[in-house]
């Protein structure tokens, strides 16, 4: 175990040398200046999950890092004026564009963009005397442009939270009231097509059972499938957008969603039969009735909303 550390160090040194050789502009950086950053990224994305990660995998990980972007950022951190000028020149438009899409108006976007550059430059000073810049958090794994967009988006969320803190209490009150109304609505749906109270009651029980079972099986889904369900149903994203998050094509996301729906139905049916004592016929009928009920519910909701 003791011999593992020098091995890792040697591996990281070699990987850093390859990264420098790969960069089109290494900005006069040395291996020594790169190794701590590479080591941090390896620790964060590989060793934290598996301390015994094979060396080949570590080498591959480093070889896939964004060599030019990482060299640029480290050079900026080290006070290279040329690198800083390049950073500003290349990414001003990216930062401004991200700020614009995260802001309500042009002034707010401009403020946000300026805040980002201040954060990147690092107006505060660390213990070692270096500026406390956000640049220290760029690992080089993803693109620098993507990282900058993420920084802008996060800062925009923080700014929004701070601004809305004052009115949060009022909003909460409103949301609570809306939630109560919704619960009342769920409990006593106003449905034009429901013929008698008994049927309405049985429907409500069926709905409740089914909803509980569905909630349970959704929670038991594999993370990737659960994420797709959340992206599509909870966040109302389109399949193309959900696919982009998962790194798959829209068609793949669509097929995957169909499979999940079929899988969920099987699991809900199993729970209703095994745990609630329903028969197969009852579950089939209830699925159809509940769906019809929800369909009518949605239609009436749309009518009342319009």
């Amino acid at each position: 175990m003791k011999s593992a550390k020098p091995e890792i160090e040697t591996l990281l040194n070699e990987s850093a040398a390859r990264l420098l050789a790969r960069a089109s502009d290494s900005r006069s950086l040395t291996r020594e200046s790169l190794v701590p950053r590479i080591s941090a990224a390896v620790e964060k994305y590989l060793l934290r999950n598996d301390p015994q990660t094979p060396h080949e995998e570590i080498s591959k990980f480093v070889d896939e890092m964004q060599a030019d972007d990482l060299c640029l950022i480290i050079a900026c951190e080290r006070g290279d004026e040329g690198a800083w000028n390049d950073l500003v020149e290349r990414f001003t438009a990216t930062v401004r564009s991200a700020a614009r899409s995260a802001s309500a108006n042009e002034d707010a976007a401009e403020d946000l963009a300026q805040s980002i550059w201040a954060e990147l430059y690092g107006l505060r000073t660390r213990k070692d005397g270096m500026p406390a810049s956000k640049l220290a958090y760029y690992s080089g794994r993803g693109s620098l442009a993507g990282w900058l967009r993420a920084v802008v988006a996060q800062l925009a969320v923080d700014v929004f939270r701070k601004q809305s803190r004052l009115v949060q209490a009022e909003e909460d009150t409103d949301l609570d009231r809306l939630a109560r109304d919704a619960q009342v609505g769920e409990g006593q749906p106003v449905l034009a097509g429901v013929p008698n109270p008994e049927e309405s009651m049985s429907n409500r029980f069926a709905q409740a059972d089914m909803q509980q079972a569905l909630n349970k099986v959704v929670q038991e889904l594999p993370a990737e499938d659960r994420l797709l369900v959340k992206l599509y149903y909870f966040d109302n994203l389109r399949l193309r957008e959900a696919g982009a998050v998962l790194g798959v094509h829209e068609a793949t996301a669509s097929r995957r969603l169909t499979r999940i729906q079929t899988d969920l139905r099987k699991r809900v049916t199993k729970i209703l039969i095994d745990e609630r004592g329903w028969t197969q016929a009852e579950t089939e009928r209830s699925f159809a009735e509940v769906a019809q009920h929800l369909d009518t519910d949605l239609e009436s909701w749309v009518r009342s909303a319009s």
Partner: protein
């Protein structure tokens, strides 16, 4: 049945999304590096799985990742377009062989090919006629210049009377076309050969070339007499001598050819006295072309918003641009472009006034705008 069951589940899941909410994550959200790396699908499997677990339960991180993944897709759209160019080419090639094209365009193409072949054959015949006329003129000159030489069978003896009679008319009719052919300004180094031919063929020279002369000599001399051969040698040696002379000499020989043409009979005057004119016209056109070239080069330089641009290989390049300098590449209408012109409206003015690709040097930076 499958669609129906999926619709039922679809409705149930929609209902679930309205009633359920994601649990909070105690403030342990993904950082910017994790978010962007996840959105770019740049994480190792195990790390990605860990973050997927978090995202499935954290609405705020999910929202950011979705936003980043979408903007990343927009950024890479240009690359996708570049990649799809090959498929666009394939599509275009496939469209060439579509049924509609095969039904209408192929017969039309066939007709065009037939017409072109017909025209080519016709023009070849015209050239043969003019060659016959040239050899006839040569014979006449030889006879008049060397009266003591016994009349012998001329190289044009192989041609029928009918051809000889038709030749002038055809030549006269086809003159404008040939004038056009010679119009593309024979370069100076070709002039000696033209003048050499002119010496031999008198005024006919500018309308034919050395190749045409060889064509005239080879097929139409079935029975060359020794006298003819001697004359031919003399002509050839004269031609070779003339070919090594410079441009000024060629001008002189052209004038001589023109003078010689004046003493020819009426028919040869009609047919060949004028050809030097196209030659002189071609010199004039050379001069004119040179002026046009100058004008064109002026037209290839423009001043916009106080900057001068020259056009090179279809790109408007700022005269202040140094090719060793790196450029920031932008596409018109892109986010980056809009951001730039918002700051620097003058760049927008330039980009609007100059079509196509532009390289602008602005405040110490070079921008390449497509």
């Amino acid at each position: 049945m499958g669609q129906e069951t999926n619709k039922e589940m679809d409705l149930l899941l929609q209902r679930l999304s309205r009633s359920a909410s994601d649990s909070s994550n105690d403030g342990n959200h993904l950082d910017a590096d994790e978010l962007s790396s996840y959105a770019e699908n740049a994480l190792p499997g195990a790390a990605r799985a860990r973050y997927t677990e978090h995202l499935a339960e954290c609405a705020s991180c999910r929202k950011l990742v979705a936003q980043l993944a979408s903007s990343g897709a927009v950024v890479s759209a240009t690359e996708t377009a570049r990649v799809s160019e090959a498929s666009a080419l394939r599509k275009f090639l496939a469209s060439l062989f579509s049924p509609m094209v095969l039904r209408y365009a192929v017969p039309a193409l066939g007709l065009i090919v037939v017409a072109v072949i017909g025209l080519t054959v016709l023009r070849r015949n015209e050239r043969a006629d003019s060659v016959a006329q040239l050899t006839e003129q040569e014979q006449r000159k030889a006879t008049s210049a060397q009266p003591e030489q016994a009349p012998s069978q001329s190289p044009s003896a192989g041609l029928s009377d009918n051809q000889q009679e038709e030749a002038p008319a055809v030549s006269a009719a086809s003159r404008p076309e040939r004038a056009k052919e010679t119009q593309p300004a024979p370069p100076p180094n070709q002039s000696p050969s033209v003048s050499a031919t002119a010496d031999v063929n008198q005024a006919a020279a500018p309308t034919t070339t050395g190749a045409a002369q060889r064509a005239a000599n080879e097929p139409v001399a079935p029975k060359p007499t020794p006298a003819d051969e001697e004359k031919q040698k003399k002509v050839e040696s004269e031609a070779r001598r003339q070919e090594v002379q410079g441009r000024a000499e060629s001008e002189v020989s052209k004038e001589r050819a023109t003078d010689a043409a004046k003493v020819e009979d009426r028919r040869s005057d009609d047919n060949f006295a004028r050809p030097p004119a196209p030659a002189s016209r071609s010199i004039a056109s050379l001069h004119r072309n040179a002026i046009e070239e100058k004008d064109k080069s002026d037209a290839d330089t423009r001043s916009v918003a106080g900057r001068r641009f020259r056009r090179e290989r279809g790109i408007w390049i700022d005269t202040a641009y140094d090719s060793s300098r790196s450029t920031v590449n932008l596409t018109r209408g892109s986010e980056q472009y809009r951001a730039l012109v918002a700051d620097e409206p003058a760049i927008k003015t330039i980009a609007e006034q100059l079509d196509g690709e532009i390289i602008i040097v602005w405040k110490g930076h070079a921008y390449r705008i497509r």
